[in-house]
């Protein structure tokens, strides 16, 4: 501790020495200036207040039926339950890692329920709620987190691409896919999910450029959950992210990301716009990552509890439930049924994960190429021979000895 204290002081001294005086004066001025250019609370589209009150928005009208409202509620509850179960499975050692969507249910369910079957989705790695709406079996999402595969579903079965881990890459795939949709003369939309952190990646900017220049039918859906691991969103931009779109020549809008109705309405408008040939649009869903970045992360290192607590009051599920209750759209039977469905889902997922077999060793050599590759064939054969050598035993003493050491 003493050493650390000394280091801190000496570095402070260094900074204020020599030209340092002016430097720190300058710095203060700069900070002030930056703050001044950022409006305190930009407008966001909201259709449902945290208290469960319906509000109107001139541009984004929506009139969901009771059935639809109950459906959205069910989606969110089941998604949250699935997510919690996955977190538990990670704690139990069944998964190597889990990236929780806790708090982002409205952004995901609202946007995904705005899509048609023909629309195509390019997710990042946290879109479990979107996957749910697309009809991807939740257990399939767990394969990569368990470490049995790097993507366990057929993207074309549900028009839901594989999770993409390298930040921002998928926005270009979505744009290219949308260019293809246009060439086909099809009238479907493409949606690319990404985070506030991802907004800094050059690939995302290039996706904006390409989609604008070709007027491609792609919706960029940014879940600004205000954190990129330990970095707050201000590390990525000093103005609200939705404003970026205008400079590329298409509209951007900020929506209350914890308001499932607003997310639904805005995404509906954006996809319809895309389908009718009006090109790309950026939606910034202003939300909050209630949990850790992933199960490997420890947010207490960088985040104040109060911040999280403030956001609990804006919980996306709670507010829809308040509406349902207020308008008497959800009786006990309905709520109990969802509870039961949640339990069943959790149980099914738990069992499926535990039963998930490890892949065969030789899977390493599968699907590296679609048309084959001589080197892969050679290595496959050599490895098979090597594995076989353990079975035949005596002549490979080194190997056997080593196994014991292991």
């Amino acid at each position: 501790m003493t050493v650390e204290g000394t280091a801190a002081r000496s570095s402070a001294t260094r900074r204020s020495g020599g030209t340092g005086k002016r430097a720190s004066a300058t710095r203060k001025k700069k900070t002030a200036q930056t703050a001044a250019s950022t409006p305190a609370e930009p407008q966001l589209v909201q259709l449902l207040t945290p208290d469960g009150e319906r509000v109107e928005h001139p541009d984004y009208a929506i009139d969901p039926t009771p059935e639809e409202l109950r459906g959205l509620y069910r989606d969110m509850v089941l998604t949250r339950r699935f997510d919690a179960e996955a977190t538990a499975l990670q704690r139990q050692g069944e998964l190597g890692l889990w990236a929780s969507l806790l708090g982002q249910e409205a952004a995901q369910i609202g946007s995904a329920r705005a899509l048609n079957d023909e629309d195509y989705v390019f997710p990042t790695y946290r879109e479990h709620g979107v996957a749910w709406c697309r009809g991807v079996d939740p257990t399939n999402l767990l394969g990569m987190f368990r470490g049995v595969n790097n993507g366990g579903w057929d993207p074309n079965s549900n028009n839901f691409h594989l999770y993409t881990i390298v930040i921002g890459s998928q926005t270009l795939h979505a744009t290219g896919y949308a260019m293809g949709v246009m060439k086909d003369g099809a009238d479907s939309a493409v949606i690319a999910y990404f985070g506030d952190g991802a907004s800094s990646q050059g690939d995302v900017a290039e996706a904006f450029t390409f989609s604008a220049v070709y007027n491609a039918p792609v919706v960029f859906f940014c879940q600004n959950n205000q954190w990129a691991i330990s970095e707050p969103a201000e590390r990525q931009s000093r103005v609200p992210l939705y404003q970026r779109a205008a400079g590329y020549g298409f509209p951007g809008v900020r929506v209350d990301g914890n308001d499932v109705l607003a997310c639904l309405a805005v995404t509906k408008a954006a996809t319809e716009r895309a389908r009718s040939g009006q090109g790309p649009m950026l939606i910034e869903a202003f939300t909050y990552r209630m949990g850790a970045h992933t199960t490997s992360d420890d947010p207490t290192k960088y985040r104040r509890d109060e911040e999280r607590e403030a956001w609990e009051a804006k919980d996306p599920i709670l507010r829809l439930r308040r509406l349902l209750e207020k308008e008497k759209l959800a009786d006990d039977t309905f709520l109990a049924a969802i509870e039961e469905e949640s339990d069943a889902l959790a149980k099914r997922v738990r069992e499926a994960v535990r039963a998930m077999p490890d892949p065969d060793s030789m899977a390493i050599f599968e699907n590296v190429y679609a048309d084959g590759h001589a080197l892969v064939d050679e290595e496959r054969a050599q490895y098979a021979e090597y594995l076989a050598s353990f079975a035949t035993g005596p002549e490979h003493e080194g190997g056997s000895a080593a196994q014991e050491v292991k």
Binding site: Y177, G180, F210, A370, V376
Partner: protein
């Protein structure tokens, strides 16, 4: 050209019926252009994308006339952003298209390197084979044209090391014509390295031939004393070296590798088992160049046949030099022959 050379390409003629009209001599550049045209005619899903590929026809005119004939929907001038080009090409491939991407010069492929290495190369495996991304990336590469920085590099090893990619380079017009179509037909991503300083070299193309497989090497000249292995621009240099050696009574075999991933080690092995000596030549820096893999693996396969270590001739471990020094940097006839001498001296 020496009497022992086996012709200009791997395409084995099936030309009895229509020989007169299907065989002609043309530069590599034109063979590539014709091949792209043919691929676009045969398959409406084939697209051309890149900077200046449209009206201009590319800075080397390889896509000349294609936008005029196939329209802006199929020959696409892109924004100036290589990651964007490759990334959107991947998206188009996922939608069922077969994009052929032009990178303007070798040194400008690196902004796209992430998309190529982490997405294009791995997506098929990531999806357990359920999706395919048949993208061809054309790169005019290597030096010898007196250009400024970044316009003369040979980055093939940086792609060949990466599983999921295939890498090829033609050395003559026939291969240019056939290998391009095969690359486009391949369901795997192919990095197609075009030997830019040989673009204007003419040789025969038979458009009715039946080409051999894309990833096999070809014995371009038979010999008994030593094997020279090369691909792309260096094949010509090696053939010249073999011809020069012949005058001195040395019989050199020249193998045109054609593919850098996979490498056809069987053909190389067969040759080295006969000659007992191997010199690998490429423009790329020797250190961790493709020649290092050839040397390592052929030594393993032919340990008891080799009478000399496998020698390598290539670029130095320095950035590609300014144009006035490139003749010193590039492996030319002299440096190849020097290594041949060294190998024969063992």
């Amino acid at each position: 050209m020496a009497a022992t050379a086996t012709g200009t390409g791997t395409a084995t003629g099936n030309t009895a019926s229509a020989a007169a009209s299907t065989v002609s001599k043309m530069p590599i550049a034109k063979a590539l252009n014709q091949s792209l045209r043919k691929a676009m005619e045969d398959d409406p899903k084939v697209l051309i994308m890149g900077e200046d590929v449209g009206k201009l026809g590319g800075v080397f005119r390889i896509t000349d006339g294609l936008q005029k004939d196939f329209g802006e929907e199929r020959v696409i001038d892109t924004p100036l952003a290589e990651s964007g080009i490759v990334g959107t090409a991947i998206g188009l491939a996922l939608r069922g298209y077969r994009p052929v991407v032009e990178i303007q010069f070798d040194g400008f492929v690196f902004p796209a390197y992430d998309q190529i290495v982490t997405q294009l190369a791995k997506m098929h495996a990531r999806a357990l084979g359920k999706i395919r991304v048949p993208v061809v990336i054309r790169i005019p590469y290597a030096g010898g044209i007196g250009a400024v920085e970044h316009h003369s590099e040979s980055p093939e090893a940086l792609f060949a090391h990466v599983a999921g990619l295939k890498c090829v380079s033609p050395s003559n017009s026939s291969d240019a014509y056939w290998m391009m179509q095969q690359a486009i037909e391949s369901d795997d991503p192919v990095i197609f390295f075009e030997p830019k300083r040989r673009y204007w070299d003419k040789s025969e193309v038979d458009t009715a031939a039946i080409p051999g497989p894309l990833h096999t090497a070809r014995v371009a000249r038979t010999g008994t004393d030593l094997t020279l292995a090369a691909y792309g621009p260096m094949v010509k240099t090696c053939l010249e070296a073999a011809a020069a050696s012949q005058e001195e009574g040395k019989s050199l075999e020249v193998v045109d590798m054609r593919s850098m991933s996979p490498i056809d080690f069987d053909t190389l092995q067969k040759s080295v088992e006969k000659t007992g000596r191997l010199v690998v030549v490429h423009e790329a820096p020797v250190f961790l160049g493709t020649g290092s893999e050839v040397a390592a693996r052929i030594t393993e396969r032919c340990f008891y046949h080799l009478e000399a270590p496998v020698l390598r001739v290539g670029g130095f471990h320095s950035p590609y030099p300014p144009a006035r020094l490139e003749d010193e940097y590039l492996p030319g006839l002299d440096r190849v022959l020097d290594s041949v001498d060294r190998a024969l001296a063992y």
